[in-house]
Symmetry: C2
Subunit: 255 residues, 2 copies
């Protein structure tokens, strides 16, 4: 991977319940932060229905466009869990009852409990590698550059923590945040000038309303600490020159 070519990722969230508004996704922010720590930039996310065509199309589009793809959701024992079959279809391989996954699941259940629905959780695309699930044992898997994870946040997180050391990233991006109780319209032209002068730093402006007061959160991100420091100083000067306090938030290494 060339040094200045970022390592990229995409997340595909599978589940009607997120689109209907019944469930709020809790995995995207976790993956975005976790990947950033590894120097992998989350470039896009898609939320798709529990529908074969929708899942296959999204996986096919994303696995060619990004270095890593992570899917969440749809790998349980019920009829609406169709992710493994869709991934097999996207890769053009057979879905097979995986012996290693069967052994893991067989230890988790009594023979009576280990019914056909639970055995279905051992159906994994041919050629995939299992990803350990330390919580409820039913494994995720990796095939090519696609990592297939469960949707339940505590299980997704535990699984991600188990394989993250195997992901190959680039330089992690550092970030700074400068909060000012002013408006975007007042700061915009000066901020554009700072952005132009510091092209290696990504500067974002996010307005907010806090206890009835308008403010902006100016977020600076870069892999290079010196460049980030210089741009942050320039943003703080811009704000204080306007006669407004520039409140620098503590740097959060994770995002």
């Amino acid at each position: 991977m060339p040094a200045n070519q970022p390592v990229t990722a995409c997340v595909i969230i599978i589940g009607n319940e997120v689109l209907s508004g019944r469930t709020t996704d809790a995995n995207l922010a976790y993956l975005g932060k976790g990947l950033n720590d590894l120097g992998i930039r989350l470039m896009e996310a898609r939320i798709v229905r529990d529908d074969e065509d929708a899942i296959v199309d999204a996986v096919d589009a994303c696995r060619g466009a990004f270095d890593y793809v992570f899917t969440t959701g749809g790998i349980g024992p019920t009829h609406d869990d169709i992710t493994a079959a869709c991934i097999a279809k996207a890769f053009g391989v057979r879905l097979e009852r995986n012996a290693e996954a069967m052994a893991l699941l067989a230890r988790q259940y009594t023979p009576e409990e280990f019914n056909e629905a639970r055995r279905k959780m051992a159906d994994i695309p041919e050629g995939a590698t299992l990803l350990e699930n330390p919580v409820s044992k039913a494994p995720g898997f990796r095939i090519g550059n696609v990592f297939v994870l469960p949707g339940v946040p505590i299980i997704m997180r535990a699984m991600f923590e188990g394989f993250r050391h195997r992901l190959v990233g680039g330089e992690p991006w550092l970030s700074r945040s400068v909060v000012a109780f002013t408006t975007e319209g007042s700061v915009a032209s000066g901020l554009a000038a700072v952005q132009e002068k510091h092209p290696r730093v990504e500067i974002g402006s996010y307005p907010f309303l806090r206890s009835g007061r308008l403010g902006v959160n100016l977020v600076l991100r870069a892999p290079d600490r010196a460049a980030l420091d210089a741009a942050t100083d320039a943003v703080k000067s811009l704000i204080t020159d306007m006669g407004v306090e520039a409140i620098e938030e503590t740097e959060v290494p994770a995002c």
Copy 2:
């Protein structure tokens, strides 16, 4: 629109801050519920970076695939607000300083405040129709089947409430939810049989862990109340026949 052809929508969330995990999106669930009330099914959502190619590609892919597209984010006065320019590019039209938008903004600011950055918020693709912003005046707009909304939730919601009566939907889907403290693996085969017998009802199974107890939330959705009632009764019988209490949650019309 044929009666049994659903009216579909896609949401495109524009903003690096959602992908970095710094901001959690608060618009998707609102739009998903609001559209469902109107009989419009949210089929997909994409979260893309503040990047011209990413925005143009997503808009182009989605406006052909769905009846309605809603974008959120990137329409403010700062350098990272590039949505209007990207939409113009996607539609192959000019971005022009819209006279109506200029008049709205001019009333909002003193002549001194009304600087070039704020005037930029009046740059709207040629042929677009403005969408009223009752909170901070800077308008959104509609062009073709694409509705361009701000990212700040209180403003996005107020704008959506202002034009929602103009959207043409189909039959709103109703939903029921049956909660049971059992496992997905125990209920899966019976649930698949219910799904097969009630193909017009969409049945989803969502496991949860609440105060250390495993449970499943079985969500049934359909436009037809009688079909929904019959499938819900079948699910409840399935659960109670297992010797487990079936707790029906109050129907929430909005999702």
